[in-house]
């Protein structure tokens, strides 16, 4: 019933999520990475709520509320508290130059579009373009994971991947279990966040740099 407007707004929000994925890629400071991630959380929650209206699916409001509470509020707050408590002024420790990362990001988005659009010629336009956006967000999240050595930045990359999944799931009209699946995926993210916080709090490792962990691989000696 909402016709074009529904389509346009869904696109706008999806595009916003993708834009923030790029913003995540060029932040050098951890605090800025966390802020950008919180913004992405807000947009994903809005996108879920909008799909709830457009599809007349009340369950999606629950998804939106949970996503907002966790990704826009709780997780960024917890990470910022940890940074402050441990007095970590950390940089995001890029393992790859920012310029190279951005070029890689653009290429990944092109790849996502090239892969999804021809493959989905049968599906209708919204689903196709939603999928292309979602896959781009997933790939950019993975790029962030490999281009950052810092544990927190890697976890945020993983959560970026999860935002892409949520975008795909809410765009698939009438998907059963969408609330349960998105919540389950979120639980996994919460577990990873809890793990990284526990790791930092133990202070066995002086730095957040995951390179420091590699020394402990069981193969030495």
């Amino acid at each position: 019933m909402l016709g074009n407007l529904a389509y346009d707004i869904a696109h706008l929000l999806g595009g916003g999520v993708l834009l923030i994925s790029f913003m995540l890629l060029y932040q050098r400071r951890l605090a800025a990475v966390i802020n950008a991630f919180a913004m992405q959380g807000v947009l994903v929650a809005l996108a879920a709520a909008w799909q709830g209206i457009a599809q007349g699916e009340p369950g999606l409001f629950l998804t939106a509320a949970i996503a907002f509470a966790a990704k826009a509020v709780a997780i960024p707050l917890a990470l910022r508290l940890v940074l402050k408590r441990l007095d970590l002024e950390g940089s995001a420790e890029p393992a790859l130059g920012i310029g190279a990362t951005m070029i890689g990001g653009v290429m990944l988005v092109a790849l996502a579009i090239l892969v999804v659009l021809p493959a989905t010629a049968g599906a209708h336009a919204l689903a196709r373009e939603d999928l292309a956006l979602a896959l781009s967000v997933v790939l950019l999240g993975m790029l962030m994971m490999i281009s950052r050595r810092n544990a927190i930045a890697q976890v945020i990359g993983l959560m970026g991947v999860e935002n892409g999944l949520l975008l795909a799931a809410i765009g698939a009209a009438g998907m059963p279990l969408v609330v349960e699946l998105s919540t389950a995926a979120l639980v996994l993210m919460l577990a990873v966040v809890a793990a990284v916080i526990a790791l930092l709090m133990r202070e066995r490792l002086q730095s957040l740099d995951t390179q420091a962990l590699h020394r402990h691989r069981g193969e030495q000696g």
């Binding site: 493959a119 989905t120 689903a127 979602a134 896959l135 997933v138 059963p176 699946l181 069981g218 000696g221």
Partner: protein, 473 residues
């Protein structure tokens, strides 16, 4: 409550009870009890008619995997109880460990039984979280590194698998509507779905669940995770988790294979499987750590299984036998290696030697198990590898060379490991450490099962496996 639900919920109920028991030794015994009852439940499922009950289903493919899973679960619980003191867990650690073990058992059963692909995904995720906890339980820097890598790589893997699942739904939605995540519905209606979307979905499912089953290129969590945590965990990781993930790949493969317009799924599986087997067969050389060595061997065997499913035809049956045989023999090896590393106070290859001379029961058991995993007769993996090679030669002769190289390189590496671990002059034991019957018995039991299934598989099981091979398209 339908039986499949009971098979899932009973271990989870057990986990609740175990989390409440402060006494580690008592908990270990209760853990054995829970595992034994679960095994009985799983075996009763053979008598149930195949079919749907709610979100779960029973069919020829998941029944044998389920049974082997709970057999390994029970023997692992026995082994774990016998070696609990040596693992040196504190009271809280022991509670967390036993509870996580049963959560894992329930989750892997759910992953096998789920008809709804969303539920299957959630089950694999729960199994992941439970195993991360167990891998990290000793909290040494090496354990933390292993758990971190496990978490991050498997997080990416299961995220990709979820994306694949969503794509399957998008493909199915115009045909099936709201029923679009049920495996049986998807499998039946695959021919009417959009082939392009199905292709895309398969790639994500294969790479996603392939990560969890240790296939290249996201395999590197596996050796680390197997080297840390109590040894019992390595046994269930290799024996159960890898199978559950491979089973998920097979479910996806058979949906995509049901549509005549999709790309052939075989070559993808052949490529990943062959790459995994070749890489692992080279990595098996010069390992310093015994548990990492056998973890690499798991990568090799999952690669061989994927290769078998990729070739298809008669090789599919070989692939299923390979999964079952690998579960039994690899967990037996971890029981042996675990006990040896308790005796010697280290899991380094250099510290373990001459087991046959000093501890014949353990030494011979471990030697036979290593021979079994290297693919020597009379164990089940010989049967499956023979079937795989024969079918590969018949259908894709060019595969013979790389496959032969992988098999021979791996077998040679394993035989040289056998020599250094079991033969020769014994290395010194830790003061006061000794082998116990309860810790050695599971090893021999698994060897017995692997020989029995190779030489005299019961007719009903053989026909069940043939039906299962028929389900995979």
């Amino acid at each position: 409550m339908p039986l499949p639900w009971a098979i899932v919920f009973f271990p989870w109920l057990g986990a609740l009870v175990l989390a409440a028991i402060p006494n580690g030794r008592l908990a270990a015994r209760v853990n054995i009890g829970v595992s034994a009852v679960s095994l009985v439940l799983a075996l009763t499922a053979f008598g149930e008619p195949a079919g749907l009950s709610g979100w779960t289903h029973l069919d020829a493919l998941n029944l044998p995997l389920l049974a082997v899973g709970f057999v390994v679960g029970l023997t692992t619980a026995v082994y774990s109880a016998a070696t609990l003191d040596a693992e040196g867990l504190d009271a809280l650690g022991a509670r967390a460990y036993h509870a996580a073990f049963q959560i894992f058992m329930g989750a892997q059963a759910l992953a096998l039984l789920a008809d709804n692909l969303g539920v299957m995904w959630v089950a694999i995720e729960i199994a992941t979280i439970a195993t991360v906890l167990m891998v990290a339980i000793h909290r040494t820097p090496a354990a933390i590194e292993a758990a971190w890598k496990f978490f991050i790589l498997c997080g990416v893997g299961i995220a990709l698998a979820l994306f694949g699942t969503i794509l399957l739904y998008v493909a199915a939605q115009p045909v099936l509507g709201e029923a679009g995540l049920s495996w049986q519905a998807l499998n039946g209606a695959a021919a009417q779905m959009d082939a392009g979307l199905l292709n895309l979905a398969f790639v994500f499912l294969l790479v996603g669940y392939g990560t969890k089953s240790g296939l290249v290129p996201l395999h590197s969590w596996l050796p680390d995770a197997h080297a840390e945590g109590p040894t019992a965990i390595s046994a269930v990781l290799s024996g159960l988790l890898l199978n559950a993930a491979m089973h998920a790949v097979l479910r996806g493969k058979s949906i995509i294979g049901g549509n005549p317009d999709t790309l052939a799924t075989g070559p993808f599986m052949i490529a990943l499987g062959l790459a995994s087997a070749l890489l692992a067969s080279l990595a098996l050389w010069r390992r310093a750590d015994a548990r990492r060595l056998f973890a690499w061997s798991s990568i090799e065997h999952m690669g061989l299984a994927a290769l078998a499913f990729g070739i298809g035809g008669a090789a599919t049956l070989a692939g299923l036998l390979h999964m079952l045989g690998h579960s039994l023999i690899k967990s037996a090896i971890f029981f042996g290696v675990g006990q040896a590393s308790i005796l010697k106070g280290s899991q380094k290859m250099a510290a373990i030697g001459g087991l046959i001379a000093s501890h014949p029961g353990l030494g011979w058991g471990l030697a036979l198990a290593i021979a079994g995993i290297a693919g020597l007769p009379p164990f089940l993996l010989f049967v499956s590898e023979f079937g795989l090679v024969a079918e590969a030669m018949a259908t894709n002769p060019w595969l013979a060379l790389p496959l032969g190289i992988a098999l021979l390189t791996a077998a040679a590496a394993l035989v040289s490991a056998l020599q250094s671990l079991c033969l020769g002059a014994p290395t010194p034991d830790v003061q006061g450490a000794r082998t116990t019957v309860a810790a050695t018995l599971p090893l021999w039991l698994h060897l017995g099962l692997a020989v029995w299934l190779a030489l005299a598989m019961p007719a009903f099981l053989a026909s069940l496996l043939r039906d299962a091979a028929g389900l995979i398209r």
